[in-house]
């Protein structure tokens, strides 16, 4: 921390202005929307960007639109709005449910969809104060030599924690991004690297503008989240299961790797084989309130329950899981 602060905070009016401010800035910068994740990381000294580029003043990124083929959600839509949107509840009931499971009600008034998708990966050895990390001996993710959580790994498996990304990926959502080079629309899952240190692959100046969710008839989805308390807590394991009319199955997991874990299958598959495939794709380490083995065990429990729920439900009648999440 410097005493005579050279910190800056700007609030551009357009995406273009925001991107060019980022390009022009010589030091480090960080886009913020709700800021509910970034400001805590700043408080703990994990984010040292001197320029904060506040995107919340940008118009046109807060709308939710329905076209013939898609529902398009502006990246600055707050989680509270996602939670309360009738349009979403009708077409993708799992999405409001996931939004409601994030953080606390007050945080959801500020936190945005885009921010949630780009929420920094978490680890109990990383989300700590500067003093703490020094006392612990600095992990890989904060410039140390080894992963403390695994007791020596050279690879960082900090936890991917966006619950909404899990749901969106299971719905085959795409995102529209803009950076100094281009504007493009890409599948959401392609932005996650799996590297816990730099979990997002996008060029650093990129801003997510909106999310495109294809309208496909006959999807049935179930969402589950493991955490100690029914509110506030980040996920220890998030699962979403989507069964499509075609009979194809998409399973997406959060909190089980440095990136979302995605497994595609079919209703014809042997579930045990499918689950084994899911579990073998995870990289769960001891970096959470719950133990590694428990989180692994819960994958099967959650997915089994999801299948049971969906088999008893007809397409589009889904109101999401009513299981108490404990």
């Amino acid at each position: 921390m410097t005493v005579i602060s050279e910190n800056k905070y700007i609030s551009p009016n357009s995406v273009e202005q925001a991107v060019s401010a980022a390009v022009e800035h010589k030091g480090s910068y960080r886009y913020i929307a709700g800021g509910t994740d970034v400001m805590v990381n700043k408080f703990q000294g994990n984010d040292t960007a001197d320029l904060l580029i506040d995107l919340t003043g940008i118009q046109g990124l807060k709308e939710i639109l329905k076209t013939d083929t898609h529902i398009i959600i502006g990246a600055l839509t707050t989680l509270e709005e996602l939670q309360n949107q009738q349009l979403l509840a009708t077409h993708f009931p799992m999405l409001p449910e996931a939004a409601k499971s994030v953080a606390s009600p007050t945080i959801r008034k500020s936190a945005t969809l885009g921010g949630n998708l780009l929420c920094e990966n978490r680890c109990i050895f990383y989300n700590q104060s500067e003093w703490w990390r020094e006392a612990a001996g600095r992990c890989l993710k904060c410039n140390g030599d080894i992963c403390l959580a695994s007791g020596g790994n050279k690879y960082c498996y900090s936890k991917f924690v966006s619950d909404i990304a899990v749901v969106l990926i299971s719905l085959n959502a795409e995102i529209e991004i803009i950076n100094e080079h281009e504007t493009s629309v890409i599948p959401l899952e392609t932005i996650y690297s799996g590297d816990g240190i730099n979990p997002v692959l996008l060029p650093k100046t990129s801003i997510i503008k909106s999310i495109y969710i294809p309208l496909i008839d006959g999807n049935r989805s179930a969402f589950k989240k493991l955490r100690k308390r029914e509110t506030l807590d980040f996920t220890s394991l998030t699962t979403s299961l989507t069964i499509k009319n075609s009979g194809s199955v998409r399973i997406v997991l959060g909190g089980a790797h440095a990136k979302p874990v995605i497994v595609d299958g079919s209703v014809e598959d042997d579930l045990e084989v499918l689950f084994s495939q899911v579990v073998s794709n995870t990289r769960i380490i001891e970096n959470d309130t719950y133990s590694r083995s428990y989180r692994k065990d819960m994958i099967r429990v959650f997915l089994k329950r999801s299948f049971v729920e969906l088999n008893s439900k007809s397409p589009y009648s889904i109101t999401g899981s009513n299981e108490p999440q404990k």
Partner: protein
């Protein structure tokens, strides 16, 4: 720096702020609106909630620059024209305010929530919505019950016009009887308006800010501390290290083992090594980072087992003790013969338990300001025990007792965690003396966790025996508790773990042995239910097991083993009033125990447990012959009675309790009574708010004082009118004879008393009777009276995930007499909520001596959504020695709730819980084991 315009509460402000400054900082430090509180600084507690353009935000994670040209509404804006907002009124009226620290944030959240509630869906559904809506605002006092009730009632009345306000200013209408009438705290309005000043709210001009450099090693020699670079930083005034303040202190005279900062060596990660006083907090932080410390690392001792063992060649944590290990204290008492008892008992059971440490989790972080002037040292600090701090400061600062003044402002919860003299208090006193300036300090939430003094991690093996017809024969407990790096209350904790098992059941063969060890971790001390919470858990679990083994209803078993009123325990505790049976009966009825037990589907269960606790320790911590409590009353020409007492209202409502007692004795309405508490210069000594002593002891002193004032008034009237003193009644602000030949208003009586004399001051005191046996250790746990209680909990265990959901808590507590039933309910609900936390989610987890979960995101206090309906029942037994029959209500209730939950889990899935917090993984593993071994679960 950037210029911003803020409209806060309709007033325009222009501030120069740093680019990454938080809104909470601007509101508190620049606009001076301290109603907005800082509890965690990381958006996880909700205390800082304000409205930004009418939307609730967490101001501690909202950048101030973002709010340029915005409208901010803080708690201070709600009351208008001298009248509370209707929502605030509901908070007051329903008793939703205890310490009041979370209140402003809670009110702001509720304000934005209420209009959106679905009032048509029925009250239960709306309450669930409220639980959800408030679930980002942590409260440690209330268990949320009364908060939810307040918001629900406000929402229901939102669109209803009311003729009159329910709350009249200060409750001017004098009820028939002050004692027993539910009433909000006398300071509730101040708290709900955000006007009550807590330690960090009080601004002292020219104060320097203090920050600490803390050890990053659990056990190490300090080779060298180089402060030269830090001293060069502009704005740094003084840097202090341990060697400057070497005088040891500690709350117990026998454990004066702590220094203000580490001297020569550090004993835990987080121990203070150096302190900086600077112009701003930021400069002080920067200076700390420039201090270079050279350590040489010593072997650390982190677990009970390591510390019980011989230390070998390694250096012990303290020199203390004859043996080459890290045992701090061994306590042992035996009555009857446990071995013989076990041999003769028809059925026995033996189990081992492990408990993680837990933290008080009060929402207000420690904060204090100290300065010196011609009167010596004055410190305003968040403390439960001004008296012991007074003594410790005099000792460490090496000044006479007459040169120290300790002031307790409003306190944001304590639960035992503010009842030691603390290092930061010694340090700022020292820095203030060195710099000649006031020095203020506020600990971060991480520092609060490192300061700890919470419940000891414990291990114990307990054995009990019973006859086939269900009479307890024997109890033997072998206990080890992990004290962390220093003594604190640990010697008392060691005894309490054992001695507080000798009730509420009759036992003739009873014995225990407790070891307290030092480890290289933050120190443990006293926390709500002090000492006996974990061992009570063990015993109540064993009783449940015995009931199962002899196939007896665990409620019936307990019923037939309870001690009687007016009896002695095996260790010679004098039991006076005892509401155990009534308490258990009550919760059995409410939960429909008889109809439901044994008939519930797999995964669901009811469990029961009982407990008891002291109403104040009969013996003082520091041996002396002072009364336990003294209360002064002053009556002057204006008719107002000033009550001064050294006791600390820490949010439990003790100031209100004092006013109620004086009101009752004098028949005087509460608005004529003014309570001045906890300022060691102005108020007579009371030992402080610990061991559940204040209602019993300060209450009795207040009653004595009010009686003495009454005598003075009677004497003056008798002299004037020549009547018999026995004829006078004091009631409803009047003093009159039965035939009304004399019928004086309070002011007329005051004039008579004051004539040719002026203001009258009287004193009252409480001295505990001589109690107990004359064996060594007989004094531990002695109390003039004991509280009793019972809890039945209902759980729903998910048999696939092992997750436990507590769905109901029915509790009953014998508090003798509820002087203020609203406050007593609040204490009970808060106790059961805190117990719920220890049972299912709270634990202090360490990585090589470094605390993992030092914030409110990772230290998991149950939110409103995690808290079931709590059904509180007050049992009144009218204690012969308590003031108007009252006993304690603040701590005892926590004892039964935790084992009741565990016993309910046993009923639900046949798994005996032997580790806290309950771990779903263990439940699954044990269920699996049962299946494979064919074990019975019925």
């Amino acid at each position: 720096m950037q210029q911003i315009n803020l409209k806060i509460n309709n007033k325009q402000y222009h501030f120069l702020v740093s680019a990454h400054e938080m809104l909470s900082h601007v509101i508190r430090e620049k606009a001076g609106l301290t109603g907005t509180k800082i509890g965690c600084e990381q958006g996880s507690c909700g205390a800082c909630t304000v409205l930004l353009n009418n939307v609730a935000v967490l101001s501690c994670i909202t950048p101030a620059v973002r709010c340029d040209n915005a409208e901010i509404t803080t708690i201070e804006a709600l009351a208008k024209d001298g009248k509370l907002h209707k929502l605030q009124e509901k908070f007051v009226e329903k008793g939703a305010i205890q310490c009041g620290f979370c209140t402003p944030g809670m009110v702001m959240t509720a304000l934005s929530l209420a209009p959106n509630l679905n009032k048509e869906a029925g009250i239960d559904s709306m309450k669930q919505e409220i639980k959800e809506g408030l679930s980002g605002n942590l409260c440690r006092c209330t268990g949320y019950t009364k908060v939810i009730a307040a918001v629900a009632e406000y929402a229901l009345e939102l669109n209803v016009t009311r003729n009159s306000d329910i709350i009249s200013e200060n409750n001017t209408n004098c009820p028939k009887s002050a004692v027993g009438t539910p009433r909000p705290y006398i300071e509730a309005q101040k708290k709900v308006r955000g006007a009550a000043e807590y330690a960090d709210d009080i601004s002292t001009r020219n104060a320097l800010h203090c920050k600490f450099l803390r050890s990053i090693y659990p056990h190490a020699r300090i080779e060298n501390i180089d402060v030269s670079e830090a001293l060069k930083l502009p704005g740094v005034h003084f840097i202090s290290t341990g060697i400057e303040i070497p005088v040891t202190f500690g709350v117990l005279p026998i454990s004066q083992d702590e220094t203000a900062m580490a001297v020569n060596k550090v004993r835990y990660i987080g121990e203070i090594v150096a302190a900086v006083a600077a112009d701003t907090e930021e400069i002080a932080v920067e200076a700390c980072s420039l201090i270079k410390v050279k350590y040489s690392v010593l072997k650390e001792f982190l677990t009970i087992d390591e510390s019980l063992d011989d230390a070998g060649e390694d250096e012990k944590i303290h020199e203390y003790g004859k043996f080459n290990n890290n045992i701090h204290k061994k306590a042992e008492l035996r009555f009857g013969d446990q071995q013989q008892g076990l041999r003769e008992a028809e059925v026995t059971t033996k189990m081992s338990f492990e408990f993680d440490g837990i933290n008080h989790g009060f929402t207000e972080p420690h904060a204090a300001t100290a300065y010196w002037d011609e009167n010596g040292l004055t410190i305003t600090t968040a403390t439960q025990v001004p008296h012991y701090l007074h003594r410790a400061l005099a000792k460490v600062m090496e000044v006479p007792l007459s040169r120290v003044r300790v002031i307790k402002p409003y306190l944001g919860g304590g639960f035992g965690g503010k009842s030691d003299p603390f290092a930061h208090e010694m340090i700022i006193a020292h820095l203030a003396r060195k710099t000649g300036r006031p020095v203020r300090v506020r600990l971060s939430r991480e520092e609060v966790f490192l300061t700890n003094h919470g419940r000891h991690p414990s291990k114990m093996t307990v054995e009990m025996g019973i006859s086939k017809d269900g009479f307890l024969q024997v109890l033997d407990a072998d206990i080890a508790i992990d004290g962390g790096a220093y003594g604190s209350f640990g010697v008392v904790t060691s005894y309490y773990n054992g001695v507080l098992l000798q009730a509420p059941y009759k036992l003739s063969n009873f014995g225990f042995r407790t070891y307290r060890v030092y480890t290289n971790k933050p120190q443990c001390g006293a926390m709500r239910g002090h000492g006996a919470v974990n061992s009570r858990f063990a015993v109540e679990s064993l009783i449940d097991d015995l009931a199962h083994k002899i196939q007896m209803d665990p409620c019936e078993l307990r019923m037939q083993n309870f001690l009687d009123s007016n009896s002695l325990t095996v260790g010679q505790y004098r039991i006076t009033s005892n509401g155990s049976r009534e308490s258990l009966q009550k919760v059995m009825e409410q939960s429909h125990w008889k109809e439901r037990i044994g008939k519930m589907e797999k995964g669901k269960g009811l469990g029961v447990a009982c407990g008891f606790f002291i109403s104040g320790s009969a013996l003082p911590i520091i041996w002396n012959e002072l009364p336990q409590s003294v209360v002064h009353l002053k009556l002057d020409f204006d008719g107002r009675v000033l009550v001064t007492s050294g006791s600390s209202d820490i949010g439990q409502g003790s100031d209100t309790m004092l006013a109620i007692i004086v009101s009752e004795v004098l028949g005087l309405s509460i608005d004529n009574i003014f309570v001045l508490g906890a300022d060691t210069l102005l108020t007579p000594v009371d030992f402080g708010s610990y061991s559940s002593r204040v209602t019993f002891m300060a209450g009795n002193a207040a009653k004595d004082a009010a009686g003495n004032l009454k005598k003075e008034i009677i004497q003056s009237i008798v002299t004037k009118f020549e009547i018999n003193p026995d004829e006078l009644n004091f009631h409803d602000n009047r003093i009159f004879t039965n035939d009304k030949t004399i019928d004086l208003s309070w002011m007329e009586a005051v004039d008579i008393l004051m004539a040719k004399r002026g203001a009258v001051s009287v004193s009252g005191k409480y001295i505990s009777p001589k109690l107990g046996g004359d064996f060594k250790g007989a004094g531990a746990g002695l109390s003039p009276s004991y509280s009793f209680g019972a809890v039945i909990a209902e759980v729903d265990v998910d048999t696939d995930t092992g997750q436990v959901k507590v769905t109901n808590i029915w509790g009953a507590h014998d508090c003798g007499k509820a002087l203020n039933p609203l406050a007593v309910q609040g204490q009970l609900e808060g106790s059961w909520h805190m117990g719920l936390g220890q049972a299912i989610s709270e634990q202090m987890k360490y990585y090589k001596g470094l605390l993992f979960n030092n914030n409110f995101l990772e230290y998991k206090i149950p939110t409103s959504l995690d808290t079931p309906d709590i059904h509180a029942n007050i049992i009144e037994t009218i204690d012969p020695e308590g003031p108007f029959g009252a006993k304690e209500a603040g701590e005892g209730a926590i004892h039964p709730v935790i084992p009741a939950i565990a016993n309910a889990i046993y009923k639900a899935v046949g798994v005996r819980i032997t580790k806290l917090p309950v771990n779903p993984e263990d439940i699954l593993a044990m269920m699996k084991l049962q299946k494979t071994s064919g074990g019975n679960s019925k």
